[in-house]
């Protein structure tokens, strides 16, 4: 009986996500006309560049890792009713933390990333509890601070020994994430999937997750039911920041190995689109991150072979966000 009730809900939710994703792809293809390319040709390049070869597929997976983690970060915060728009800043601070911890090995380095991200996000919580400052504002402003903090670091104390470019030295080899077999993939892929499963377990299989979701849906009712709402918010935001920080750490130790300005490259903001497309479900976020990962690598191929700016991937993200918000609004008003 319970199965009968639940299936249509999840089917319709997946349906909505598929429609939103398709809308984004269709929007992109139509944009091709503006660049003098047929939509079909554009789609072929996108597909070839993202899933067309083993190399392309590995590129997609690598791009999906930070997207998955920042997506989970947004999903957990949104589930608790907190608008954490600060994934970008938490990502950067996480990478900074990882860089500083790199000399103590890969585990310590990742731990530092987690802690740094959690602390950065908690600054917003502290301002909320102290002066009721909305997270939408504080987290986004903390992004700018983090960007400039990184800029200062790579132009100053953490600049490479040569002092030639505004970037850091490479992290020591023993702090790099190990590669999986003889692939280009690093172990961060496994970590990210494990974190997604852990997030699902936390949200749906523990009392902590139950109260976190209750707080997100209706803070007042949760309070009357005996939930310590402030405590839930503090922990949800710390977990959210930790995930974004981990994403930054993995990106540093697995992909770039150096810090430089523009290190985050929009992963934090992209996490919002990833989470919304997954409708804030941790396991859905895996599929959603793969979709956006493919889109990003495919867009890179577009730039190389067709001369179309890879910024079109950002356009697709925007379309997804708008489509999902439109659907969510509708389902909310109709129920």
């Amino acid at each position: 009986m319970s199965g009968k009730l639940r299936v249509p809900i999840s089917v319709s939710r997946i349906g909505i996500a598929v429609i939103a994703a398709t809308t984004a792809i269709a929007g992109l293809a139509l944009c091709g006309i503006a660049f003098g390319r047929s939509p079909g040709e554009l789609l072929a390049i996108l597909a070839g560049g993202s899933i067309g070869s083993s190399f392309a597929l590995q590129g997609t997976l690598l791009k999906s890792v930070p997207l998955l983690l920042t997506g989970l970060s947004v999903a957990v915060a949104f589930r608790a009713g907190v608008w954490n728009i600060g994934g970008e800043g938490q990502f950067l601070v996480g990478a900074l933390g990882a860089f500083l911890g790199a000399r103590y090995g890969v585990i310590a380095s990742l731990m530092a990333a987690v802690v740094a991200g959690a602390i950065w996000a908690s600054i917003a919580t502290a301002m909320r509890l102290w002066r009721n400052a909305p997270e939408v504002l504080t987290t986004i402003l903390l992004n700018f601070i983090a960007i400039h903090l990184l800029g200062y670091a790579v132009n100053g104390p953490l600049q490479e020994v040569g002092g030639k470019y505004p970037q850091s030295d490479a992290v020591p080899a023993r702090a790099s994430l190990p590669l999986l077999g003889n692939l280009e993939l690093h172990a961060g892929v496994v970590i990210a999937v494990l974190v997604a499963v852990a997030a699902w377990y936390l949200l749906y299989q523990t009392a902590e997750g139950l109260r976190l979701r209750a707080t997100g849906f209706n803070r007042s009712a949760a309070k009357w039911a005996g939930v310590n709402v402030d405590g839930q918010l503090i922990r949800a935001m710390a977990i959210s920041g930790a995930m974004a920080g981990l994403a930054g750490g993995i990106e540093l130790l697995g992909v770039t190995h150096r810090l430089f300005e523009r290190f985050a490259a929009g992963y934090g903001y992209a996490g919002i689109a990833v989470a919304l497309l997954a409708q804030l479900h941790p396991l859905g976020t895996i599929a959603s991150a793969l979709f956006f990962g493919a889109l990003t690598t495919g867009a890179g191929e577009l730039q190389r072979t067709a001369g179309i700016s890879s910024m079109v991937a950002t356009l697709a993200q925007a379309i997804v966000i708008l489509a999902m918000i439109a659907f969510m609004r509708r389902s909310k008003t109709s129920s």
Binding site: L210, A221, A225, G226
Partner: protein
């Protein structure tokens, strides 16, 4: 203006029941009654805002109504709000014509006091020169001095031939300003006249309850007095009334139901909220505002029930919820149904199931049967009685006097944030009308 045989129903509830009433120019009519007596409904019909189901209105004149809740744009200035109401006229001129003092029209409404907002609403209504002006609880947000200022304006308007209807449940004010008093109870007019004493008015307003001593259940007489709360707090509510000044602890013994009655808005919500935040231990809360505070509408019945528990195992929770659905006779298809899809009565049963299943030692129940049908109400009452029999200390906050007398072993009346002495049901039946209306000063020596 003459109203004849006006009847208005909301669903099965008859709000106004065959009321006939005539008004003369220059009268100040005090319209009084308990909450839900039908005052506001009747006057909305007179003002043409609501259509009556039956009855006719003759000699209808231009009517204005000032609602209890402000209809102002906070981000706009006083002048801008007046421009919204009367486009094209100078704000200062409108204010001067109204005879109501309100300075500096360039202040934002968000920054002015509640009393000034009330004045602004009044100016908006008076500016249209109505022949019939209805003021719905205008003094509930005013300080005494501001209220007196309002009375001066009302008398001026009446002197110019306007009929002023003053809806209120504050008897002293009504007696001060009204030239005629009309009392409503349960949708009907029960008294209408020019000269009434405060006591007569209170008697007419609040029906005398027959006190039926309910079966004295076996009480553990040796159980110690359990203080459920010792609240000592002076808070200011949004209404700028000093709310909740409970000087001494409010005592509830184990196995006892203590009811707190009063006209809504006298500090009941603040009391419940402060008890929620201050009581520690094994406490159950039944919140007053079920729609906002009761259940998480988006979550399942099982999830809502599990919120009260330390652990969450989906399968076990579903089983527990199934058993409670059975026991509390909740009309639901499955424990995995969304709580928001249940009817109001069934939502209340889910709350009861969650709160009472834990066998709490203290229960704070605010308006536990509000909006429920007879059967559901009886069920709620039986559950509360059963909990008391089991030894729980129960504080019942209600605006339904029948409920208070049906359940309460002792009764306090709350008025302007102050509790009366502890009364026996018999004493309360005698004195509640006056205490609720604030016409009897608190006496000492009656307490428990």
């Amino acid at each position: 203006m003459r109203l004849s045989h006006i009847t208005k129903r909301f669903g099965t509830n008859v709000a106004v029941d065959d009321v006939s009433l005539a008004f003369a120019p220059g009268e100040i009519v005090g319209l009084v009654g308990e909450n839900g007596a039908g005052k506001t409904t009747l006057m909305s019909i007179a003002a043409g805002e609501l259509a009556a189901d039956e009855g006719t209105i003759d000699d209808r004149t231009s009517a204005g109504i000032v609602h209890q809740h402000f209809l102002l744009v906070s981000e706009f200035t006083i002048a801008e709000n007046l421009a919204l109401a009367m486009w094209g006229r100078d704000a200062d001129a409108i204010i001067r014509d109204s005879g109501i003092a309100l300075r500096d029209v360039h202040r934002r409404v968000a920054d002015i006091s509640v009393g000034e907002k009330a004045k602004l609403e009044l100016i908006k209504a008076v500016a249209r020169h109505p022949r019939f002006l209805i003021l719905d609880e205008p003094t509930s947000v005013l300080a005494p001095a501001e209220a007196r200022e309002l009375f001066v304006v009302m008398r001026q308007l009446a002197a110019n031939g306007t009929t002023v209807v003053f809806i209120s449940h504050k008897i002293p004010e009504v007696l001060e300003v009204a030239t005629r008093v009309v009392v409503m109870r349960r949708g009907r007019i029960v008294a209408d006249g020019g000269t009434m004493t405060a006591s007569e008015l209170a008697e007419a307003m609040v029906e005398r309850r027959q006190v039926e001593r309910r079966q004295q259940v076996e009480r553990r007489s040796d159980s110690p007095v359990r203080q459920t709360a010792a609240v000592n707090r002076t808070g200011e509510s949004d209404l700028r009334l000093p709310m909740l000044q409970l000087e001494e602890g409010l005592g509830v013994h184990a196995g006892e139901i203590v009811a707190i009655i009063g006209v809504a808005g006298n500090g009941q919500s603040e009391l419940a909220a402060s008890l929620r935040d201050s009581l520690r231990g094994h406490v159950a809360h039944i919140p007053e505002d079920r729609a906002r505070d009761g259940l998480i509408a988006e979550m399942t019945i099982a999830e809502n029930i599990a919120l009260a528990e330390k652990r969450w195992r989906p399968r076990i929770a579903a089983k527990t919820a199934s058993a409670l659905i059975e026991r509390f006779d909740i009309r639901a298809q499955s424990p995995l149904q969304r709580a928001g899809s249940l009817s109001g009565g069934n939502q209340q049963k889910v709350i009861l199931a969650r709160e009472l299943e834990r066998k709490p030692e203290i229960i704070v129940a605010a308006e536990p049967s509000r909006g429920l049908d007879i059967e559901a109400t009886r069920f709620v009452h039986d559950e509360l009685r059963a909990a008391a029999t089991r030894g729980a200390a129960i504080l019942l906050i209600t605006s339904d006097l029948d409920e208070a007398f049906a359940l309460g072993d002792a009764i306090h009346v709350i008025y302007r944030g102050k509790l009366s002495d502890r009364l026996t049901p018999a004493e309360a039946a005698e004195r509640a009308p006056q205490l609720m209306a604030g016409v009897e000063r608190r006496e000492s020596g009656v307490g428990a």
